[in-house]
Each structure stands twice: as C-alpha cells, then as structure tokens.
Symmetry: C2
C-alpha cells in the first residue's frame, strides 16, 4: 500500500513516455498487437467475467463484511478514526487490484481543526493503455449515524438472512464500492487486464457534504486530465420494475441575507426601543420568501423549470412510494402535499425548493444574553433543477428582497450575498453514451431502463467534478425501492449487489467499445504522461528486448525536437490541450447543461 506524501505527488508527475502503444496510427509504431484483436478479446471474455462474478458471492460478502465493520459515521467527529481505517482498507484493497493508490490528508475545515486524525481521501489509478478510455469512479465509505436500539442486529456487523444483506452502509457507499471492486477483480482474474483505464476517488465525509474535498479536488485538477467519463452510484430506482438512468443533476444557490444596523453589538438594556433591530428585519425578509405552505414567493423563480414529459409523469405515478415510510424515514408527522403522490414527488425532485438553514451572527448560545446583534446573516438555499439558470435566480432573489426593503421602508442596511452556487445540469438522454449505459443495464436487469432529465439527482460532489472535469457523467442506479435505503435496519437484496457488480463489469465493456483515437500522440508530444505502468503491461504483451535502448534513443530525439520546437516552451498549454474534449467527448452537442 502506498502512503500519501508530497513526494508521491512529485513522483506522479515525472515524465515517463509510454514505452509501447497499440493504436494503429501511433507515431511511435510500438504496436505489438492490433487494437481490434484486443477489443475482440474483451468482448469474448465478457461472459466469463459475468460468470465469475456470479460465482463470487462469497468474495462480495467478505468485502462487504469487512467494510460494514468500520463505524465510519462521519457526522460524529469522534468516529473519524474509523473512517480513516476504512480509507486505509480500501486503499490496500485497490493496491491488491494493481491500482496505484495515494492517500491524501485534506486541509482541515474549521469544524475539524482540532480533530486528529484528519480527513483523508484516496486517489487510485489503473492505467492500462493510452488507447483506452479512462473512467473516474467516485465512492464513499462513510455512513449515516445509527440508532442502535432501533436495529434488530448490530448495524456494524453484516447479517446475511433470506438473501438479504443487513448492515449500515449496504445501500450506500459501502455496498456500491463492493460492486466495483468485484467487477474489477473478476476482470483481472479472467482477462488479466481491464477494458478501461480506471481512476478512483474514495471519500470519507460524503454524508456531511464532502467538506474540504470539493476544494481539494479543484486544487488537484491534474489528476483528472485524462478522465473521459465519471460514474456515480445513485439510488435512482423509482419502482422495482425498471432501473432509472437520471440524466441531470440538481444545482443550488446558497444565499446570505445580511442585515446590518449599528457597527457593534448593543445591549438590549441600552438600545432596545431606540434602534431598528437587524434580527427583526431579517425575520421579515425571511418570512416573505415563502408562504404559509412553504412555497417560494420569489417571482420568476420557476419560469425556466423543465416540464415533466408524459413518460416522466407516468414514471412518478408508478413510483413505489409509501407516505408512512417517507415520514418514518424523515421522522416527521406530516409531509408537504402528502395527499397527492405525484405532486409530492414532483415537489421533492422536479421543482426548486427553498430551505432555511440558520442565522449567522446572532446569539446562538444556550442561555439568555441580552445582546442585540447588529449584523446578522440569514442563510437559505434554493435547490435548482433543469433548466433553471443560477444567474437568473440570483437576480430574482436580489430584486425581490430589494423591492421588499423599499416597499416596507426598512431602516437597516440590506445586502444579499450568494455564498455558494452551481448551475444544475442535464444532458441528452439519447446520446451514444447514454445508449451504451442503458444497454449495459438492460443486459443485467433484463428490463429496459428509463432515462429522464426532469428528475435531477442531488449530488453536490458530482456537480463539482462535472464542472471541473467537464466530461460526461454517468449516474448508475444502485439499490432498488424494496431495499431500505439509509433507514434503520438498512438492507439490500444480495441479488441487487451482485447485479450491480455485473452492471459495473458490463459497463466497462460497453464503454470500451466507445474507444476512439489514441491519446498517445498528444501525450508523447507533451512529454507529460503520468502513471504508465510498464509492470502491468509486461505480463500481457511480449516485450521487445531492444525496447529499452530504442526508448532512450527516442527520448533523446524527442528532447532535441522539443528544444527546437517553440511549443516546448509553453508546457502550460499541455493542461489546456488535454482538458479540451477529444474522442467521444469531442462532440459537445451530445451533452449540454440545457436540453431543449
């Protein structure tokens, strides 16, 4: 297992030109095997791999058993050590699977500044060939807290009963990751290689919003340069019959309403009755954002919301949904619109919603301090859905609040801040990629998947990665409606887990069929390919004995060429170049942040 260190980051970026390449047009002419035959070999092995997965239920159970045992409850900082252990486990597991792994400590967020150990993230990569597509898989190992007395078994002990897995995390991060691990293991066992290059990010603070990670990945953008697709597992099944492939991500706009009075806090004994209090005006502003039914009252906010198509409407109608389960899940006595299922689900998933989070700057300590806070910031967020635009929402909110201030002749100062926000995004449901994903799912689930972009998935980390990498996103449907997701006595059918592993493995094959032109040309020219694993290749391809000598000859030639070329001086353009689309992703019309 490799440990994180600043050195490993440096090592990673050392120049190692690919020693061999199998693409037909490669200028290196190191082709030792035609691409077509490799492609055929992958397809011919597919069935054996699926067979192997089918027979590997014991391995799956064993992996899941070990993962469930980590009490990685991320909302409790005291459990951070457990999460770190889980991260170490996955890191060594991936290393076993021939991945090169890196564990990075993530700069602390203020909430955890006194906590040791620190939050970590695992980056891992498997590089097999520059002619193959690179898939980025996001996984997480942390779980929601448990109410141990509501469980029939120990939540951190995997129980297998009646073809069900019981345990905390089986329907979320832990179960999802096990599927990928198994698919990879079986491919390596049967085929000796993977059909794709694969990169992993494994998070341990997903359930608390991946604080820190979002900033961190932005600073490590070079890791994602060669990524072609990103995959996230989501619980998007709406009924038990058909898997749902969501083709959109919800966005959000997080606002702060800053209301300011004096430039210092006052004592209420001194100033009460004399001054206009910011808290009072803030309550007024906040209250006017929604009506008594909690519906947004900001004009123009819903104007761009994508309408449901008839199939999507039917999908919501067919959704497996029991009000009491939702109520139980959310611990509330009554839900909004609970008399109409479609309206309820539409409001939950397909419409923008406003939530209020708190007030910053006011007195928040238990007890009775007679302080008049003189600068308060009310915080609320609006969930954005396709095809809303962040900029338009910001304008609407600001206009509304300012007109409210003018109307009521408010005497305190108002400032509206956008504290955080990201556009929602959606992509075409009929792109080649989505067809390929659906084909993979259909072959496993034996039922045609439904694609929808009007029911966006809420997964902030996906938005962040999508914005950073700017490559297509795949949202893999995981646990079904019959599985009890995130609940007490969380459970999943063992069949669901096995099918997920199969779907992962089939997805590898299907994505590999999208292979287009080799990247080695670009990579060679820019002398900056990272992660070539000659050792891996060594096992598969007959090595040219003279290669070593040839390689260095070439290298010198390249260096000479470089020093002649003016391009060599602008190595920064490498990043720009590599991050531009090519291959399948060359055709940006296939996905856009707005569909018609």
């Amino acid at each position: 297992m490799q440990r994180s260190s600043s050195r490993s980051i440096d090592d990673e970026s050392l120049f190692v030109p690919p020693s061999k390449c199998r693409c037909e047009k490669c200028p290196l002419h190191h082709i030792s095997k035609p691409v077509q035959s490799e492609r055929d070999r992958i397809f011919s092995n597919k069935q054996s791999v699926l067979k192997a997965i089918e027979n590997s239920i014991d391995d799956v159970t064993s992996d899941l058993e070990q993962l469930v045992m980590f009490q990685s409850v991320s909302v409790e900082p005291s459990m951070l050590l457990e999460s770190c252990k889980a991260i170490e486990w996955i890191s060594s597991r991936l290393a076993e699977l021939k991945f090169k792994t890196y564990e990075y400590p993530i700069p602390d967020n203020p909430a955890n500044c006194f906590v040791d150990p620190h939050q970590k993230v695992v980056f891992a990569k498997y590089f097999s060939s520059p002619t193959k597509k690179t898939l980025l898989i996001y996984g997480h190992l942390d779980v929601l807290p448990v109410k141990a007395d509501c469980w029939l078994s120990d939540p951190f002990r995997l129980v297998v009963k009646d073809n069900m897995f019981y345990g905390r995390g089986v329907t979320s991060g832990k179960g999802m990751l096990v599927g990928w691990l198994q698919a990879i293991e079986c491919w390596l066992k049967i085929h000796g290689d993977l059909p794709l290059n694969i990169k992993f990010i494994v998070d341990m603070l997903h359930e608390v919003g991946s604080t820190g990670l979002q900033d961190y990945i932005t600073s490590r953008s070079e890791f994602f340069l060669d990524v072609d697709y990103m995959v996230f597992d989501v619980n998007s099944w709406l009924n038990n019959a058909q898997p749902v492939v969501a083709c959109s991500l919800a966005g959000w706009a997080y606002f702060g309403i800053e209301v300011r009075g004096a430039n210092k806090n006052l004592e209420s004994g001194l100033a009460s009755g004399l001054v206009f209090e910011p808290m009072v005006d803030l309550c007024h502003f906040m209250n006017n954002l929604v009506n008594a039914e909690h519906e947004i009252q900001i004009p123009g906010i819903e104007s761009n919301v994508k309408r449901l198509t008839t199939p999507e409407w039917h999908l919501l109608e067919s959704a497996e949904f029991r009000t009491y389960e939702y109520r139980e899940d959310l611990f509330v006595r009554r839900l909004r619109y609970e008399d109409n299922k479609v309206e309820l689900l539409q409001n939950r998933w397909c419409k923008p919603t406003l939530s209020m989070h708190g007030v910053e700057g006011a007195d928040v300590h238990p007890g009775c301090r007679q302080i008049l806070p003189m600068k308060v910031m009310g915080k609320f967020s609006i969930k954005l859905v396709p095809d809303q635009e962040l900029s338009q929402v910001i304008d609407s909110v600001k206009d509304f609040l300012l007109s409210l201030k003018a109307e009521q002749n408010v005497n305190t100062l108002l400032n509206v801040h956008l504290l955080d926000g990201i556009d929602p995004c959606s992509w075409a449901q009929d792109s080649k990629l989505m067809k390929v994903v659906c084909r993979a799912l259909e072959s496993v689930y034996e039922s045609e998947p439904i694609t929808t972009s009007a029911i966006p998935i809420c997964l902030p980390i996906a938005n962040v990665l999508q914005k950073l990498i700017n490559k297509p996103v795949i949202l893999m449907p995981y646990s079904r409606r019959t599985d009890k997701h995130h609940n007490e006595n969380e459970r999943i059918e063992s069949l669901s887990v096995m099918r997920h592993a199969k779907a992962c493995s089939t997805l590898f094959v299907e994505l590999s069929s999208l292979r287009s032109k080799c990247k080695c040309n670009i990579i060679q020219q820019y002398c900056n390919l990272r992660g070539v694993q000659e050792i891996l290749d060594a096992g598969r391809i007959s090595v040219d004995k003279n290669e070593g000598a040839n390689r260095w000859k070439f290298l010198n030639k390249l260096r000479n060429a470089e020093s002649d070329s003016p391009k060599s001086k602008s190595r920064n353009s490498f990043k720009k170049f590599l991050s531009s689309t090519f291959g399948c992703a060359k055709k940006p019309k296939k996905r856009s942040t707005k569909s018609k």
Copy 2:
C-alpha cells in the same frame, strides 16, 4: 489583602458574639457610650468630612488614575487578566480602608470554560456596630471596549484637562467606585469610624450581564442577611439641572420559541421540498411579533403600563437630548421615533420593548452547510416596565403564538418557553427613605432631585439582588448629561466625581439617622453573628480590661442557655429570622413592587 479560599468562608461563619454593644436596650449591657452621643458625633463630623472630601481631589485623581489603567474590557475574554488585576487592586484598597475582603472565583459560565484566570468577585464588609444600619454597595470595574483610533488620548490613561477627567470607565463603574472609596476614606480619617456598616460587591463582568454572578450571589445569600439597603450608581440624570432619583427597575421576560419538525437534522438534498421546515415557521412566528415599525403586536401586552404623570412628561421634555449624539452613541443611521423627542424617550424608557437575540439550534457557522435544522429556538426578550406583571406577559405571549399557529395551520410543533424573567419593580417615591436620599442629594447638588417611578432603570443585577435580599434599593444618580457616558473620549467633570463622593458621604449620615432598634438582641440569641471586628472597635472605644474574661464567662453562660433552649436546635431558623424585615424595613408599606 485577604485571599479567597474555602477556609475564609468557614472562618466567617464562626460564632463570635459581639463583645460590646452601644444600644440602650441591649441585654448584654456592654454599653460603653450612649447611642445618642454617637449619633451627635456623626452629625457634628459631617461638615469636616465634606470639607476633607473637597480637599481630596488629588487622592480621587490618584485612585481613578490607577483604576483607569486596568484594561478591563469584559467583552474580550483575553482581557480577563486585566479585570482580575483591577479586582485585586480594589480588594487591597478596601483592605486598607479596614474592610475585611474576600475574593471569590465564580463558577465558570460555559463561554469562559477554557479561560484562565477565572471571573472573580470581591465581597467586602466593614462592621462597626450591630446598632447601625448595613448598606450594600454594588460596584463594577469592567468597561466597554474602546475604538482606540477614535480617542484623542490613550483611553486607559487618565487625562485631566479643563476640569474634566478623560478615560475609559470614568462615567461608569470606575468613577462611581472612586466616589465611595473617597467618602469612606474621609469618614475614617475624620471620625475614625463609619456611620454605617458597609458591604461591597465588586463585579468584573457587569458589561456582559454579570454572567455567573447572578447565580453566585443567590448561593451566597447569607452574606446579605443583615443588609438594610442596597445602593447602585446609575446614570439617571435627564437634564443638567436636577438629579433624578429613579424609583423603579425594569424587568424582563426572555422567551424561546421552540419549533420542532423531525427528531434529527436532515440534509436539504434529501428532505427539501418534502418536509415543513421549522426555520420557516420560526421566521413566521418571529415576524408576527412586531410590525414593520418594530412595534409589539402581542395583544394586551401594554395594558398595565404605568402612565407618565405630568411632571414626568415635563421631565422627558426637559431632557437634554440630541438625536445625533444618540445615533453616534449607538452607531446607527436612524433612530425609532426620532422626530419626536418625548415619544422617542418614552419608547426607550417607559414602554415595553421587544428585542430579538438569535436562533439557537440552526446553522450558525460560516460556510454553506446544507442542513435543515429540525429543532430551532428563536430567542427574544421583552423589557418590562412598571406595572406590568411577568405572569401576565407570559400568558399573552403564549396565547398569541398559539393562536397564530392555529390560524395558519402550522405543521411543525410549537413550544414557548420562558427562559428567564423577572418582574419589574417600583417603590413609593415619598417614603422616608427616598426623602432621606433626596435630602442628601439636595444638600450636595443644591437642586431639588426629581423622583420618578415611570422611568425605570435597566439594571438586571439590581433586580436579582432586590429579589434575593428583599430590602429597599437606592439608585444614586451619577454622571450628568454633559458627561460623555460610555462614548469614545468618555469624560466626566471632575466636579461631578467630587460631588458624587460628597453625596455618598452625606448619604451615610442620612441613612444613619434612620437607625432604629439594635440587632444585637437577635444576633446574640442566635449565636451567629459574623464579622465582628474587635480590632476596629478597639481604636474607638475604651476597652474594659476585664472584658476578655467577662466575654468568655458570657459565652459559656450562653452556651449552657442554648443547650437548654429548644430554639438552639433549630439554628436554621436564624436565617429565616434575620432575613425578615426589622427596623426601618419592618414597614413594608413604604415600598412595594407596585405603586398606585
């Protein structure tokens, strides 16, 4: 200087019967001097004491200089050490003045739990005779923070210029205390004794609400058993012509509106749009408490408010008041009712006002956590004025909020808590005590003081002490309107400080004239007098050489008597007995929490 320790508390409660008494009816018959002659002696020395004070401006300046140098800014926990030094200074100063002093560390409030040194309080007492009244003086040594760049001189360096003292604290705690110290010093110098028994409490967290002290004094109630009057210095002058003797204290009711949804916090990604959010409903409740003009909308809340009498109305009209100074003082751009002086002042002082302090339980950290808090508590307080009743206000608030909930069909759970509260109180303006106070002030300020009970003083610690000790309160007017109270470049006329010292000294004389029957009878019988200072007496009264022997003879006799008496077994009733009114305070009709 005596240091605090648990031993000193024990020492204090040791039984030491008074060795001599000068009252005429005393069963001990240890009278060495008739009471009348002592009284005459006090009155005859009054003028010399006033003369001595007049000549002691250098001493006053020196005391004030030393006090101002302590940067005891209590809102900044890092300055706690400075406050502690100030406390030590006052403790040793009082010890010089023949006071027995105790410094007690006060159990921490949660906000300071990691702060060392801890908050302290000085208790000090000067006991001269059981026949004398006991006056409790409350003082504080902490100051408000300074904006050093707004000051023309160093705020923590006393500057004397044009008969003005400049420096932080001269118009509040520090200046006030210096007056008392000087009055005491001059009495001791001229007369060798004080006309009263005096007790001190000196606080160091007054400006942050005396957190901790309020609870602490309740636990040390025995210290106050023999207190007859309490005096607090207040800045109650409304114009520069007449001192104002306020005869009422404002009360307060501090409420928490608890709104509860689910029994755990939810992620907005998961639950937004599905559940009714407590924060939204809380904003609704809070917003309805007041209108756009910030006027209280709770029906019935103002029904009992004492009307201004014509003289009080004229007093407000005559008040020295400049809007811009208030605005500058409070750092706001506009004041409520700023177009009408009397309405503004009435709203500030004479009417109940509602202030909002914050929201507990919601997200208060900087940043954008997408949490839906599922239990929030909005905190607001209402300042109560005579003759409002706390119980009635509580009922009105609860009724109002519950009817609002019913009206709007709110789906979250509502609970209204009274977190803290105390009744306002007022007392007769024409009682013997108030007359005596006015007489003392008139002789010093050469202008008849105005008494008012419709303009209450906001001084929480006074309410707490008044409730605990249940003895009359005297509110001594301190700095005048021309002094810049609490502002930047805080200043006070040196004349004001000297006059205050004189007023203090005259108050001693006037209060001593209220002397009624001797307490030694009770004290002797209950064998629990604490704090007799024979050493002090020794200097003044010719000592009976055989006294020592006599005293122990008496002591044994008393002990024998005790063991016979059934009363001796119920020593607890001592407290009860002593805390009941006697002497002047025996006539409760002279002060009541409600005047007609």
